[in-house]
Subunit: 200 residues, 2 copies
DNA sequence: CATTGAGGATACCGATCGGTTTCCTTTCTT
DNA sequence: AAGAAAGGAAACCGATCGGTATCCTCAATG
């Protein structure tokens, strides 16, 4: 009757599989990665994989949930308590690491690859973007923005655009331009009435 | 030896095939569309398809070239001579038609789907973005922007971001927010010195 | 009318897909 | 030491992939 350790024992293969999805699904694409190849790289048999995940679609959903939870470096910067609200918003546009070829936002890439609007992963994608929007609005409010929701929408657009352009052009400069635009937008949302306008 | 009409006769199937790529490659995704299915929908045999296009990759490149040449509605708005330079820049952010499910930028989607950086389509993608950048800078210069290249980079980021977000969230509102942000950025690039500042 | 070439229909190729099943080894529990 | 469960290796399934080859129809040309 001792099923106590089952979860502990099952943990190892599951983590290895999910770690491999981060490499292959993200690096090579979801459709381009076969279940067999993924299992092999993870050092797991297909048999084990399929008793941990119902189907490839379910595995994709788990992969997206993992990526959503982890977030990008820029997204994690939004929680850096040592920065001012304004600086946190700007830190969103930190250049992605050049190591491990940058391939854009895993959520959005999945939305592009999985044309089917009923794919189980779609929920995760939409939830992630909504959560990011809410977080941006919250920080925007803290920064004193007159309309935090609009600012959040504008900033997420810049972030998404920098990510997409960086993917299409295979360069990271778009993040720098996005950041400069974000600065202008944030200040336009805070100043304008002139009440906080600096000396210069 | 009369090969005079060859091009004319070959035109019909070729156009039918390319028209079908716009439907299937764009609507369902490139990887998700098989050559057999595409030929069938185009009303053409695989035999004919493969004697018009060397391979699926070549067909994809032709599809991308076609989409690049045609451009989106927003991109075509950049040439509307009846509008001022500023209004042309803003017209870039016209909401995409709701008919025929919007699925984002075909170029960028291809960049996401075709992880291989050596795919023949990559050239078309990069060239398209560079051309758009140049056009935006040109119009920005005409509008009197202090730094047209930077403005172009900022605007293309917004445009790309609106497109990507609209795809991920399956809604068109991102274009409205992108447009409002563009207005702020454009005006910040033109005014600022105060020489054209309005009364209010 | 006879010839020629384009092109549709279709079968075929080897490879790979997502997913299932069988067999056997390893390892932990009692 | 004995027994049970986990999991790796690998065969297998039907379906589909990109791509090729065969056969036959049809339409325009001389």
């Amino acid at each position: 009757m001792s099923t106590e350790q089952v979860t502990t024992k099952a943990a190892a293969p599951r983590e290895r599989i999910l770690a491999t999805t981060r490499t292959l699904f993200y690096g090579h694409g979801i459709q381009a990665t076969g279940v067999g190849e993924l299992a092999e790289v993870a050092g797991v048999s297909k048999r084990t994989l399929y008793q941990l995940f119902e189907s490839k679609d379910a595995l994709v959903a788990a992969y997206l949930a993992l990526m959503s939870q982890h977030g990008t470096a820029g997204e994690r910067n939004l929680d850096r308590a040592e920065l001012s609200a304004r600086d946190r918003l700007l830190a969103l546009f930190e250049r992605p690491r050049l190591s491990a070829r940058f391939r854009g936002c895993p959520m959005h890439n999945a939305a592009v690859e999985l044309a089917d609007p009923d794919h189980p992963g779609r929920t995760v994608i939409v939830a992630h973007k909504h959560a990011l929007l809410a977080r941006l609005a919250e920080i925007g409010r803290e920064a004193g923005a007159r309309n935090p929701e609009v600012l959040a929408r504008q900033l997420i657009t810049l972030y998404e655009g920098a990510t997409a352009l960086a993917t299409s052009l295979d360069e990271v400069e778009p993040f720098d331009f996005a950041r400069s635009a974000a600065e202008t937008l944030i200040d336009a949302m805070i100043d304008q009435t002139g009440q906080t306008a600096p000396s210069s």
